[in-house]
Structure formats: C-alpha cells, structure tokens
C-alpha cells in the first residue's frame, strides 16, 4: 500500500455510496469505495433456513447492538426512545430494509415556506425528479401510476399483489373515504436487470434470498464494478485526513486484520448514513479542524431526525396473508399534508404490513396472555395467526438542534474507534402526530371489521431512518454541505447520505437518498474542471 493513491475515495457501500460510485464511474477516474462490512451471501439470509425467525433476531437483526458482528459498531441509545437500526456491509441498510419506496412530495422541500417550521431545502422536487427517475430504473421499482397523492411518476413494474391483507385494509380505507394506493416498492414483480421476481418469501427485512428486493449489492454494485469502480470490503475508516491547505487528503483505516492503513485521495465522499457520517467527521479532528471535520457551523451531529413510528394492528375473523407475501402492500397518505385542525404540523404515511410471522405471533401473544398455553393453545393460536394485519405510521420528525449524535467517551468498536452516542427526545408535535395516527388507523381497522386492535408508539427499535446530521444549505453558518453536497469547509469533501437532509418528510428516505447521490454525482461531473473553486 506504499502508493495507494486514488482519484475518488467513497466511504460506505450502502444506498448512496453505491449510487454515486456507479454514476461517477463514467468519468474513468480511479474510484475506490471502502466498506467496513462484507458482501453477504444470499444463502445465508434467514429465509433460506427453517429457523429464519431466530436468525432474523440474531445475526440478521437490524439492531447493530443485538447483531454484534465484528463488522458492526456499537451505538449508545441510552438517551433515546428510538434505537438505531442499520446494516454494515455491501448494500448497507438496503440489505435489511422492506423496500417500501416512496418519493418525497414537492412540499417536503419547502416546509418553512408552507408551514413556517424548520427550513426549506436549497433544492426542490423538480431538481431531483430526473434523478428519482434514473434511480428508479437502476433499482427497479414496482408500483402503479396515477396516485393522486403525488405528481405523475413512472411505474416500471406492476404493483405487488394486494393479497387478502391488502384487500381487507383497502376496504377499511374505502369505508372511511380515505386515500390508499399500492405502495411503490423496490421489490421486483417481474424479472428485472438480472434479478428474479418476488416469490413472496415474507422475510424482506432480513435479506431477500430470491434477489427480488433491490439491495444495492445486487443493483448498483455489479454495474459500478463492471464500469471500473474498486470496492474494498473490511476496510473500516477511522478518520479522514487533511493537508496543510485544509483539503481532504485521504483516510486512515483498519483492514480486516486490524492493521492501520492509509489511502490518499483527491476527492473524498462520505456515505455512512445519518449516524455513521457525523461519527466519522467528529472522529476526524485535527489542528485545522479541532471540532471535527467540516464542522465550523457546529452542526455536524445536530438536528438528528428519525421517523417516529406508531404501529396499529387488528385481528380479523377471515384468514389473511399472515407472513406469506412481501411485507409491502399498500400505503395511505390521507394525512400527509399539514392540517392544523389535527393538532400538529406536517403529517405521515401509513405503510401497511401484511401480517406477522408464526413465532413472533406465538411468543408475543402467549406472554401477553391472549394466546393460551396448555390445552387451549392451538385453538387460541389459530384465532390469531394469519388473522392479523395493520399498519405503521411513518411520522415526519422536525429538525431540532438538541437531538444529536456525539462520540461516546467510553464505547468503542472492535478497532478502538469511538462509537456514536444519541441524545434524542420526541417533540410534542411528534407525540401528537403519533397519537393521531393510532386513532385514525383504529378507525380504518374497525371499518374493515377488525377486533382487538392493538397499538404502540414509538417503535423503540425503529430507528431505520437516520437524517439531518450534516444538513444541506447555502449558508455555511447554518449548514454543513452546500446545495450540491460539497462541504462548505472542505472543498473536496462531499456527503451524500441521509445526513444532508434538511427535513425528513413523512416517508421512507432511501429513494430520496439515492436520488440525491445521483444529483450530487451529476453536479460533480458538470464541475470537474473547477470542482474545488
């Protein structure tokens, strides 16, 4: 590694790192992506095994602290009601996501203008629209055109089936006169770009053994690697280095054997998610950047946004899909846009969930007493299993500076790198929105014929969406990156993950994260001659 010098170093091979690697590949620059985790062999995914639910709770848990792989880093969630969920490996969080794939709405980019809260983005929906379209083609999106909750957008593959569960919930929404629509999903319903179609394995959120779900290890990465991008796994970056001019000069990382290594780069792109990115920047302290890299605004690690989730389920007399099928089916955005008469600003999406798995159904209901143990077990279990469906509400979380990612003074990963610590509280607005989402969902379920409606909020382990901790903006005093992803303080350092979100909207963020990565890549390519000016 005596002369390990590249043009572009990308740190992180997840949703955004893969997208920008692929897009930049046509520049013919020497691009290396470093990923702390491994490739995952699909035969290892839980759904290829009888004990898939046990594996899903262990080595494929989305809780890194429970998963505890050597490739994971621990997260201190003690001061947060919501714990981080992620995956560290090629594909990142897309390996373990459901593939629920909504876009932001036009209004999501200007909440200050529309609702007088938070801030507007420096870009708008129109700017991102071609990149959404490009990303849709690369990931392969199923859905149905014509959703009245959105501006027109293409549907590449037919939607996922309603199934019995989706049909039941659709009846409930119709009875209320409320919006629903088949979800846009990053799950292929037809053979697509070398991937086979969905065969309803059910365990989407623990890795798709069929390869129907669009995780970036099987979408962007094969294309990027064929185009010349070099992807190095088991490289855990400790810090980004800088030269005397205050430009990023590369990174120091640990290889799979724990040996410290150095790589030099002309451009560094960070794609480590809304917690991993501030962790890396805060760990990259130097004489020139004593408070962490690119942190003259003091905003690195601040304004952490999740999507607080509620979950609401009902039991039906009819048999439903249960665990059969992809998790995704339909969504509702009836309560997406602001209506202050509801008692809160902004809104949420209902993401409907087909049903629950057999072990989870047994354990949870036996412990709660709803399913008997003993002689009456089988009868009571069969009243529940395959008879439950419902939804989660993905609530928009507004940015607040006191919600932070900092470095834990004691906790470290296996290479001794300080781990992230969260300090996060739910706002009153979020609490009111969660309560409202539960009440309205109960109305839908009741209208559809459900009994025994159960709910909870927030989902404690539901920190899937990590946003806002290196926000985008035109003013270097109030943002970390500019309107095309370049750090205000370091002109050859870019950030492309969810940390650059100004606001979080009320939808799953991956489609927007990837569209942003393609947008940043395009801006870099257009400015190659004067990229650092």
């Amino acid at each position: 590694m005596a002369d390990d010098h590249v043009d572009v170093l990308i740190i992180g091979a997840g949703a955004s790192g893969a997208a920008i690697a692929w897009s930049l590949a046509d520049t013919r620059m020497h691009i290396v992506c470093m990923e702390q985790g491994d490739w995952t062999n699909p035969s290892e995914y839980p759904s290829a095994h009888m004990d898939w639910e046990s594996r899903a709770a262990g080595e494929f848990s989305f809780d890194p602290n429970a998963r505890g792989r050597v490739t994971d880093y621990p997260v201190n969630n003690d001061d947060s009601p919501i714990a981080v969920a992620n995956f560290n490996g090629v594909g990142g969080g897309t390996v373990l996501y459901a593939g629920h794939f909504p876009r932001f709405h036009p209004g999501d980019f200007c909440v200050k203008t529309l609702d007088g809260v938070a801030d507007d983005w420096p870009i708008d929906y129109e700017t991102l629209e071609p990149y959404y379209d490009e990303n849709d083609r690369m990931m392969g999106v199923s859905g149905l055109a014509g959703d009245p909750a959105y501006p027109p957008k293409p549907a590449i593959m037919p939607p996922l089936p309603l199934g019995k569960s989706g049909e039941k919930l659709a009846q409930g929404f119709n009875a209320k006169g409320w919006h629903w629509w088949p979800s846009d999903s990053a799950v292929a319903t037809e053979p697509y770009d070398g991937r086979d179609k969905c065969i309803n394995l059910s365990a989407c959120t623990y890795g798709c053994a069929q390869g129907a779900k669009a995780s970036t290890d099987i979408t962007y990465w094969p294309h990027a690697i064929r185009a010349g991008v070099e992807l190095r796994t088991r490289c855990r970056v400790r810090e980004i280095t800088v030269n005397d001019e205050g430009m990023a000069s590369g990174a120091i990382y640990y290889d799979a054997d724990g040996n410290e290594q150095r790589i030099n780069a002309e451009v560094v792109i960070v794609a480590c998610n809304g917690v991993g990115t501030p962790r890396l920047l805060l760990n990259s302290k130097s004489t020139l950047f004593p408070d962490g890299l690119a942190n003259s605004s003091g905003l690195v690690g601040k304004n952490l946004m999740f999507h607080p989730y509620s979950q609401i389920y009902g039991t039906f007399p009819d048999e439903l899909d249960g665990v059969r099928g992809p998790q995704d089916s339909i969504w509702s955005q009836e309560f997406y846009e602001t209506d202050l008469s509801r008692g809160f600003v902004r809104g949420f999406t209902y993401e409907c969930i087909r049903g629950h798995a057999p072990i989870g159904t047994a354990v949870n209901n036996m412990i709660s007493g709803r399913v008997a143990w003993g002689e009456d077990h089988h009868r009571t279990y069969r009243e529940v299993v395959n008879h439950v469906t419902g939804m989660v509400a993905i609530c928009e979380d507004l940015p607040e500076e006191h919600n932070t990612v900092t470095l834990d003074p004691d906790l470290k990963d296996t290479d001794g790198i300080p781990a992230p610590k969260l300090n996060y509280t739910l706002s009153d607005n979020s609490k009111d929105m969660l309560d409202f989402s539960i009440a309205r969902a109960a109305e839908v379920l009741t209208a559809a014929g459900a009994t025994n409606i159960e709910s909870s909020a927030p989902i404690a382990g539901g920190g899937w969406h990590l946003m806002g901790t290196a926000r985008m903006g035109t003013d270097s005093a109030t943002s970390v990156v500019n309107e095309w992803g370049r750090c205000h303080d370091v002109k050859n350092l870019f950030i492309v993950d969810g940390s650059i979100f100004v606001t979080g909207a009320g939808v799953n963020p991956t489609r927007t994260i990837q569209a942003l990565a393609l947008y940043v890549a395009d801006n870099m390519k257009q400015r190659l001659a004067n990229l650092f000016d």
Binding site: Y45, D51, W52, D124, P151, L162, I199, I359
Partner: protein, 160 residues
C-alpha cells in the same frame, strides 16, 4: 438422536426431564390438528439448544420450582397432577421462568415443518419456492383513482 452433545449440555437429566415436561404443558400435542407437542423429541432438542446460554438463569429457577412443588404438595413436580403442575407454573413466583420457557418453546415449536403445515405454511424454508398469494380485488381502487390530486403544489425554485 439428540442434537445436543452431552458435554455441551449444562442441564442434568432431572432438569432436562423437567424442562421437557414443562414444554409439553405449554404446548401439548393435539389429535385434532394432528401435531406433536413441544415435548416431541426433535422439537425439544431445539429447545434445549436454544437455552444452553440461559442455564445460569434457568437452573436456579428450575430448582425453585421443584422446591415449591415439594413445599406445597409433597412429591416433586413431575409426580403432580396436570392441574397442580399448571397451577404451580402459573404462580407469580415462576413468572420469569415461564417467560423464558414460553419464548424458547414457541420458537422451537413454530419452526417445525410438521407444525407449520397445519397453519398453512410450507414445511420447508420460505426459499426456494416461496408462497402463493392472491392479487386481490383491484376494483377497490376505483374510488381512489377518481380522486383529484391532493398533494400541495409549490412554486418551482430550481437551483442553478
């Protein structure tokens, strides 16, 4: 044949017998559904494997359960009637033990192919093969299709 290697198994024969009895009490066999109970040898082996790590927690609680049986009834737990066994297990004092064993028992039981088939699932892993699900009634979407767009429209402010 048991999958648990003797030298790895922290539970004594008496403890294993007690655990197996409890598993069968929690989820008994059913002639109506044609399925074994959780005390079935293959299922119980999986339960045992799953609770090896819990031995330091469970062994004292099993001892307490035996002591409670003898204190209240005289004979040990295994000699009691079904009613007395069930009553003892339901005692609040055994709450923690029960939580652990419900989790372990239900987990092993509902990954057994013979059981899964009776609830409409495959007796093999989900992959390959998957499941069949219906398309559903797409005509339900007609009233929603008729709805006018309701997203908030905003002025364009595309950056340079």
């Amino acid at each position: 044949m048991s999958n648990v290697i003797g030298s790895d198994n922290p539970y004594s024969d008496d403890e294993r017998q007690l655990l197996r009895e409890i598993a069968g009490l929690l989820i008994p066999a059913s002639s109506e559904y044609g399925i074994p109970g959780a005390d079935d040898e293959r299922i119980f082996d999986n339960i045992l494997v799953s609770i090896i790590r819990l031995a330091p927690t469970l062994k004292p609680k099993l001892h307490d359960l035996q002591a409670l049986a003898e204190e209240r009834h005289g004979p040990d737990f295994l000699s009691l009637s079904q009613v007395d066994k069930t009553t003892l297990l339901r005692d609040q004092i055994n709450y923690a033990l029960l939580q652990h064993l419900i989790t372990a028992t239900a987990t092993a039981y509902y990954q057994d192919g013979r059981v899964l088939e009776t609830i409409g699932l495959k007796s093999t892993p989900p992959f390959p093969g998957g499941h069949d699900i219906e398309q559903g009634d797409w005509s339900l979407l007609e009233p929603v299709k008729a709805r006018a767009p309701f997203y908030r429209k905003v002025p364009s402010r595309t950056s340079d």
